[in-house]
């Protein structure tokens, strides 16, 4: 009897166990897409994801994205080798010399990051179209506005991609088609214009609650850039359209962060300080809040010397990477406040709070000048070895080149410490865009209106006593001068490559140790690894 029971027991265990064949994965700490979009917060956190992602590519926060390749391929900023530091496989030197290859990270990573952000937009648009907003406590109007915002944000990703790569695939749905074809640049330009035009009027006007979001003002600013570069990008001139959208912004039709219409700051540090989400000059920015969101515009890695934090009483370290090219430093007049305030040169002083004593006022160097004061010099050359001359990309030292000081985080005990937003469009750019469109329509010559526009931006960079000699006139404001002035105004803002290309200088001009290159460098190639995965991608001429 006993035997039988055991046999029965074992048999039932065997078969009882056999029914246990469930292989569904149980998720605890991750979100599964099927269950998302259940309320407004869930919807909005998905809508906002591409904005935080743009931190990775649009701003100088440590990745090879749009910002780095736009600045480091131009005539203002470089990442030179500094002794054992900064060679980084030679990639910054190749970027500076326009000798990148199809498999270089400087070619691949901006593509990767921007199409990734664009994929977030596609995914959100596709998902939200299926959500019944009334069931989750939102309205149809919310839906229209949110989808419009995401579409314009997507168009901005396309704008940036087209700027770097020219002919690119246009994809509006996740996974479809599996291996997309490239569209000619003109077609991409037309798609972007159509998308923004169709949606810009559904966007919310800019206001304090839209800081960091795609408002009407942001949409117009994108159009302003699109029209200003239309000749280069689409082979059509759109000067009147450019002036028209610039006027909409200037007139306040897109809204403003403060007041009825955007306004230029008089203090040139204000668009960039740690409360710049309030600045009436700013139109579109990546909104960071370190205090409340622990999400910070971390430019320290790219732009600070290892010990530069001591100058601010900040806690973050730098990698001593990107510096100002000597010729770009010299492009500022000595009495230009932008030179004094946006750049660091000479001895780096400690913040009073980190001084051990009155005498302890200087930040000490750590590499070539170890145990000596850290003194930034404008040259990029081996001064410690007695080198003279222009220097070069492999000749840097720890103190070479003027440094970045346009954005300052505040001290670590400041309530707004690291709360700076990274500005993507500000009124100064719109004003200079309008001036340029007027000049170009006028055969490249300035008229009184153009001069007034440019001077309105430039004037605040000079003391009133210096201004009479610094002000432009219709005689002095040439296109070359406008390019130089844009360089001075927008240095560090990730716009230089586009400007140099639009002015025809990117591959033809020489600066510092950089020689003229070939026309193909105006576009980055389609990354080799994508071509190998997708035979429908056709490589640009010159890179085949």
């Amino acid at each position: 009897m006993q035997k039988k029971h055991i046999v029965l027991g074992l048999t039932s265990l065997l078969f009882g166990g056999a029914s246990c064949t469930n292989l569904d994965e149980k998720v605890y700490s991750e979100l599964v897409a099927d269950n998302y979009y259940k309320n407004r917060t869930e919807v909005m956190t998905a809508v906002l994801r591409p904005f935080t992602h743009a931190n990775a590519w649009a701003s100088p926060t440590g990745q090879v994205g749009y910002w780095r390749v736009s600045e480091l391929s131009g005539d203002q900023l470089a990442w030179p080798q500094k002794g054992i530091h900064g060679f980084d496989g030679g990639q910054w030197i190749r970027l500076h010399n326009h000798t990148w290859t199809v498999d270089d990270d400087v070619v691949w990573n901006p593509w990767r990051l921007m199409y990734w952000g664009l994929g977030f937009c596609n995914s959100t648009i596709g998902d939200l179209q299926k959500v019944d907003f009334t069931k989750i406590g939102m309205t149809e109007a919310d839906k229209v506005s949110i989808i419009a915002e995401t579409k314009v944000l997507r168009a901005w990703h396309y704008l940036r991609l087209m700027d770097l790569y020219g002919n690119i695939p246009i994809v509006t749905e996740v996974g479809v088609p599996a291996q997309p074809k490239v569209a000619p640049r003109k077609e991409v330009w037309e798609f972007i214009e159509k998308e923004i035009r169709e949606n810009v009027e559904q966007l919310q006007p800019l206001g304090p609650s839209m800081a960091g979001r795609v408002s009407k003002a942001a949409g117009y600013a994108m159009l302003s850039e699109l029209y200003l570069n239309a000749q280069k990008w689409a082979g059509v001139t759109k000067w009147d359209e450019c002036v028209a959208v610039c006027n909409k912004i200037i007139n306040g039709e897109g809204g403003s962060l403060k007041g009825a219409a955007p306004a230029l700051e008089t203090d040139i540090m204000k668009p960039f300080n740690n409360v710049n989400h309030n600045s009436p000059e700013n139109l579109f920015q990546i909104a960071y809040n370190f205090t409340l969101g622990k999400f910070r515009f971390g430019w320290n890695g790219d732009l600070w010397h290892y010990e530069q934090r001591q100058a601010y009483n900040a806690t973050e370290r730098g990698n001593n990477g990107i510096v100002v090219i000597p010729t770009a430093f010299d492009a500022f007049a000595d009495n230009d406040l932008r030179k004094k305030q946006w750049m660091l040169i000479d001895t780096l002083k400690k913040h009073p709070s980190v001084r051990a004593s009155e005498a302890d006022s200087v930040v000490m160097a750590t590499e070539e000048y170890k145990n000596k004061p850290l003194v930034f010099v404008k040259e990029i050359r081996r001064n410690s070895e007695g080198e003279t001359g222009a220097g070069g990309m492999t000749r840097g030292e720890e103190n070479s080149g003027a440094r970045f000081s346009k954005y300052l985080p505040g001290a670590k005990d400041d309530a707004e410490y690291w709360n700076n937003d990274f500005v993507l469009y500000r009124l100064a750019e719109i004003i200079l865009n309008k001036a340029e469109a007027i000049m170009r329509k006028n055969g490249g010559a300035a008229n009184a209106e153009a001069v007034a526009l440019v001077n309105s931006v430039r004037q605040r960079a000079f003391k009133s006593t210096d201004w009479p000699s610094a002000a432009y006139t219709t005689a002095t404001l040439t296109l070359d001068e406008l390019l130089a002035e844009r360089g001075r105004e927008f240095i560090f803002e990730g716009k230089r490559r586009q400007d140099l290309i639009r002015f025809g200088k990117f591959t033809t001009a020489t600066w510092w140790d950089h020689a003229a290159t070939s026309a193909k460098a105006e576009l980055f190639p389609i990354p080799g690894r994508q071509i190998r995965l997708n035979p429908n991608l056709e490589q640009h001429e010159g890179y085949k």
């Binding site: 055991i6 046999v7 074992l10 048999t11 265990l13 065997l14 166990g17 246990c20 064949t21 469930n22 292989l23 569904d24 994965e25 149980k26 605890y28 991750e30 599964v32 897409a33 909005m44 956190t45 906002l48 994801r49 591409p50 904005f51 931190n55 002794g83 054992i84 060679f87 496989g89 290859t101 593509w111 990767r112 199409y115 990734w116 994929g119 977030f120 596609n122 995914s123 695939p169 996740v174 479809v176 599996a178 291996q179 997309p180 909104a287 809040n289 969101g293 622990k294 999400f295 290892y306 010990e307 806690t315 001593n320 750590t366 145990n371 080799g528 690894r529 994508q530 190998r532 995965l533």
Partner: protein
């Protein structure tokens, strides 16, 4: 009347036979009494079968090894047989007493080999399986249980990249690399529990280690079989007189080779500007020269043939050569077995625990990097406070040891039980359940003035606590069948297996404490929590495997053997459209020595041919890779708050599956001249396919640029030789030796699909500063582990590097283009060799063990960075001024820094003495002295050529390191 008393199928079957035998009544003539003992140590052997030759009468020995049997006459012959021992046939004799000492089976052909879900006799094995018993283990002391078999299993590479760090682990790899991103190590099964934790094993507790090297054997483990399987069986209780065994040792480590960096005086001379007036040797200060490791274990066995037990406890303090670098552990293991219901019901259970406390602060690779590169004139302290220098990648490692804490308190437990019942004759049903539970608490603390606190926490101190808990559950239900009819023998097992694994973590950190005095014991006190700057996190993941499996072995006339295995297995990790995998294997063996034409030679004891083909898989990769998951990506303003934003974190892959492997193995086992010369030879060819990777996908239209999918294949092929010989076998002197050798190569045969390809896989990214890119590149058709880079051509007059270009001309680093680069070396050893020598003279024994890896290039990053004058104002290696004096520019990666890395080490010398004991209490007493890592023969100029050579990142001698040591041990084993 006795019945056999063991759980094993075979003995179970024998018990039936015995029961039959014993039930036959026969006439009394005379009675022989005696005791059967183990010839090695005279311990009684219970359960030995004693039978009269050419009769049906027999008995088995009792718990004390005693037996009595009636024999027809004094000329009757008695046969004594027991598994694992030689079978002896002796005349009964006239005295009425016959004590017998059974020697261990030298042939081992009757040895039981654990093959997963059961055992087979060695002679029945048709696969590439290595079976090791304690007498085969490496002599002396093991840091980890698998050190016992290092160099003993052909094709198994065991590498300790962190030397003798008591808190460092080893990596294992069988027959080369089989996975890019999945698990690469063999599956470890402890007493039937897969994924067993090695912390639970103590050297003295291990009864056997069986290694399934090829796919035809490993197929029974399905999706966990690709890396091979290591089956560890712990010692079990056995009936008989109660026994105690005590083992203890003490050990000290000494630095084997100190890096030759510049002294303070030498540094001053070449870098007067950087002279800070001091004179420190931080390397020396980081060492714990008084380190002493100790170990004690006591085990007890007893019981009778029906109920028996073994219990063991241990204490171990392992101190590393570095300061703040120890592991203090204790624990125990209990095994209880019981047989009932007339021998038909068997319960076997094990419980083992390990408690350990580890100081994880010291022994840090980065500390020793600092020790080499730190300015030796820079004082460590100033005005009674530690100086923490500013600058890139420099810190004060002595200050770190004084100002920080990092402890781990860990408990690991494995419990398992198997209940087995003989349902009908020849058929047993079993249920096996096991759990492994691993949990630890980490605590960290950094004082306010520590560098970490000053740099990252506003100088307000830092405290951290983290917990980890993992729980693995296994349930196997099996049916075993055994039948022998005439010359035909069938052994079969079929079953169902369920495995479930979860782990969870919780951690928190805070800062801004009132006082350093709280350390991490008053976490809530830190102001960072109130200021919103404290951190907290938790995570949980789970996965399961479900399988149905069967194995059948057929033998004809003990001459011809065949085996078939099938496993059908599913994993939660697989995509929803691809949940179940099939793994078949088939193998055969031919015992040629049973054939007359071999038998007639008279000098061939064994000659066996084997052939096997098996398919296995690999599901050893991260959870949730097939799902559409969303994850957070930074906070963004919404209605005045800052919620984390959420987006797709991966491209889903509903077809995500297992990695596959198919493997052919041909083998030959032989034993000649009365077992004085034996060995085996195996040749294999395996293809691992559907290699899982987070590979590139078209972007757009995917959201992410990568997706986890199956692509590509690796081929490994090679051969393995084991030779063992007993050149001298005299009464007072024996010399035995064995050699293990293998050669293998690994090729990336495919990384492409229809219409698309992945150009290259890269590994070994060279560190900052310089970020010179990946050192290792694998492309379709290339060997794994290829160093790919520039070819050194000389120096310019200014001391700049010159490299060869494709066209044969030379240029500086800036002139070298992608097309100029080529394969410049390979970091995967092509050959492994070991040579063991055992000498015994009277009571003395001596073991010398040599071990080596050959056919490998090493990238000397210490020379590349520290052996370069541009590393100033940090300290340099002396070679910067001698061997590399010509280099006047920052480092460039090229074959200039590659060196031949083959080596042979005198890994272990042990001298032991077995005291002749006459005492009635003490059974045996042996003392020994052991030395480890005594000498290295190599051309490599760096500290130690034994570097990480498992996995895809191989042969790179990193800047940071753990000091290499030489260890000396004194130990005693006492039995009573």
């Amino acid at each position: 009347m006795n019945t056999a008393s063991t759980f094993s199928r075979r003995v179970g079957w024998m018990s039936v036979l015995l029961a039959l035998l014993c039930s036959v009544a026969f006439s009394q003539s005379r009675t022989i009494r005696g005791k059967v003992t183990d010839a090695r140590d005279n311990t009684p052997l219970p359960g030995v079968t004693v039978k009269i030759v050419n009769a049906t009468t027999g008995t088995v020995t009792g718990a004390d090894g005693a037996y009595s049997i009636s024999v027809p006459s004094a000329s009757s012959r008695l046969e004594f047989s027991f598994i694992g021992y030689e079978t002896l046939t002796l005349p009964a004799g006239a005295s009425g007493t016959l004590d017998v000492g059974l020697p261990l089976s030298s042939k081992n052909l009757e040895d039981v080999v654990v093959v997963g879900y059961g055992t087979l006799k060695k002679k029945e094995i048709t696969n590439a399986v290595t079976s090791l018993r304690p007498e085969n283990f490496n002599a002396g002391v093991a840091r980890s249980p698998l050190d016992l078999i290092q160099g003993k299993v052909p094709g198994l590479s065991i590498t300790r990249a962190n030397g003798t760090n008591p808190n460092g682990g080893a990596t294992f790899q069988m027959r080369g690399i089989t996975s890019l991103n999945g698990s690469q190590e063999p599956l470890i099964v402890i007493d039937g529990v897969p994924g067993g934790n090695l912390d639970l094993l103590q050297q003295e507790d291990i009864a056997s280690v069986d290694v399934l090297r090829d796919g035809s054997a490993a197929a029974i483990y399905g999706t966990r079989g690709n890396g091979g399987v290591i089956l560890i069986t712990t010692k079990k209780g056995r009936g008989g007189a109660p026994q105690f065994n005590l083992a203890t040792f003490v050990q000290r480590d000494y630095v084997a080779k100190k890096p030759r960096f510049l002294t303070a005086d030498e540094f001053r001379k070449i870098a007067p500007n950087a002279d800070e007036g001091g004179n420190t040797d931080v390397y020396d200060m980081l060492l714990n020269k008084d380190n002493l490791s100790q170990y004690y274990t006591l085990s007890a066995t007893g019981g009778n043939e029906k109920s028996n037990y073994r219990a063991a406890v241990y204490y171990n303090k392992g101190e590393g050569i570095a300061k703040r670098n120890y592991r203090d552990q204790y624990g125990g293991r209990i095994n209880v077995n019981q047989t009932g219901v007339n021998g038909r019901l068997v319960l076997q259970s094990n419980l083992s625990v390990n408690f350990n406390k580890a100081d994880l602060l010291g022994g840090n690779n980065g500390d020793f990097e600092q020790a080499v590169q730190r300015n030796p004139t820079s004082p460590l302290m100033k005005d009674g406070k530690y100086v923490n220098p500013n600058g890139f990648n420099v810190y004060n490692p002595i200050a770190r040891l004084e100002q920080e804490l990092y402890y781990r308190d860990q408990q690991t437990l494995q419990g398992d039980a198997k209940l087995s019942f003989e349902v009908i004759k020849d058929l047993r049903a079993s249920v096996f359940g096991g759990i492994t539970r691993n949990t630890y608490n980490d605590r960290q603390f950094r004082t306010k003035d520590s560098k970490s606190s000053v740099d990252s926490y506003e100088g307000r101190g830092y405290a951290y606590k983290g917990n980890y808990l993992s729980l693995d559950k296994t349930l196997d239900v099996t049916l075993d069948y055994f039948k022998r009819i005439d010359k035909h023998q069938v052994t079969a097992v079929a079953g169902y297996s369920y495995f479930n694994s979860t782990y969870e973590t919780f951690n928190m950190n805070n800062s801004g404490f009132l006082t350093d005095g709280f350390q991490d014991w008053n976490m809530g006190n830190g102001l960072f929590l109130r200021e919103g700057k404290a951190g907290m996190g938790s995570y949980k993941a789970e996965h399961s495997l479900v399988a149905f499996f069967a194995r059948a072995n057929y033998a004809f006339n003990d001459k011809y053997f065949a085996q078939a295995i099938f496993r059908y297995e599913g994993s939660t990790r697989f995509g929803k459209d691809n949940k179940w995998a099939k793994f078949p294997s088939i193998s055969a063996g031919w015992n040629l020595h049973e054939e007359h034409f071999i038998k007639s030679t008279g000098w061939v004891d064994q000659l066996k041919l084997r052939v096997g083909y098996g398919e296995t898989g690999n599901s050893g990769f991260a959870n949730y890779n097939s799902l559409t998951l969303m994850s957070t990506g930074g906070a963004y303003p919404l209605d005045g708050r800052y919620p984390e934003t959420v987006g797709l974190s991966r491209n889903p892959n509903p077809r995500l599956g297992w990695e596959t492997k198919s493997e052919w193995n041909f083998g030959l086992d032989f034993s000649l001249f009365n077992n004085r010369l034996g060995g085996s030879f195996d040749v294999y060819r395996r293809t691992t396919g559907a290699l899982l990777g987070n590979y590139d996908v078209p972007l757009p239209s995917n959201v992410n640029d990568k997706m986890w999918y199956n692509l590509g294949s690796i081929r490994n092929k090679g051969f393995e030789i084991v030779l063992n010989a007993v050149p001298v076998q005299k009464r007072n002197f024996t010399y035995s030796t064995d050699i293990t050798f293998n050669r293998q190569n690994n090729t990336m045969t495919k990384i492409s699909g229809p219409g698309y390809r992945i150009e290259m896989l890269t590994f070994g990214g060279l560190p900052s500063p310089g970020n010179l890119g990946p050192a290792i590149r694998v492309v379709e058709g290339s060997a794994l582990g290829n160093f790919y880079g520039k070819r050194f051509a000389g120096f310019t007059a200014e001391g700049d590097f010159l490299f060869y270009k494709k066209d044969g001309s030379t240029g500086k680093a800036g002139d070298i283009k992608e097309e100029d680069l080529s394969v410049i070396g390979n970091g995967v050893p092509k050959m492994m060799i070991s040579w063991n020598n055992n000498l015994r003279y009277k009571n003395w024994d001596l073991t010398m063990f040599w071990r080596g890896k050959l056919g490998v290039d090493l990238l000397n990053l210490q020379d590349m960075y520290f052996g370069n004058r541009s590393w100033l104002p940090n300290n340099l290696l002396k070679v910067a001024l001698t061997k590399h004096a010509q280099v006047k520019v920052p480092p460039q990666y090229s074959d200039y820094y590659l060196e031949p890395g083959g080596f042979v080490k005198l890994d272990n010398v042990t001298i032991g003495y077995k005291f002749p004991v006459k005492s009635g209490v003490i059974r045996q007493l042996r003392a020994y002295v052991s030395g480890r890592n005594l000498a290295t023969i190599t051309k490599y100029s760096g500290l130690d050529p034994e570097l990480q050579d498992n996995g895809m990142t191989t042969g790179i001698d990193n800047r940071g390191f753990y000091p290499r040591t030489r260890s000396f041990t004194v130990g005693i084993n006492l039995g009573f």
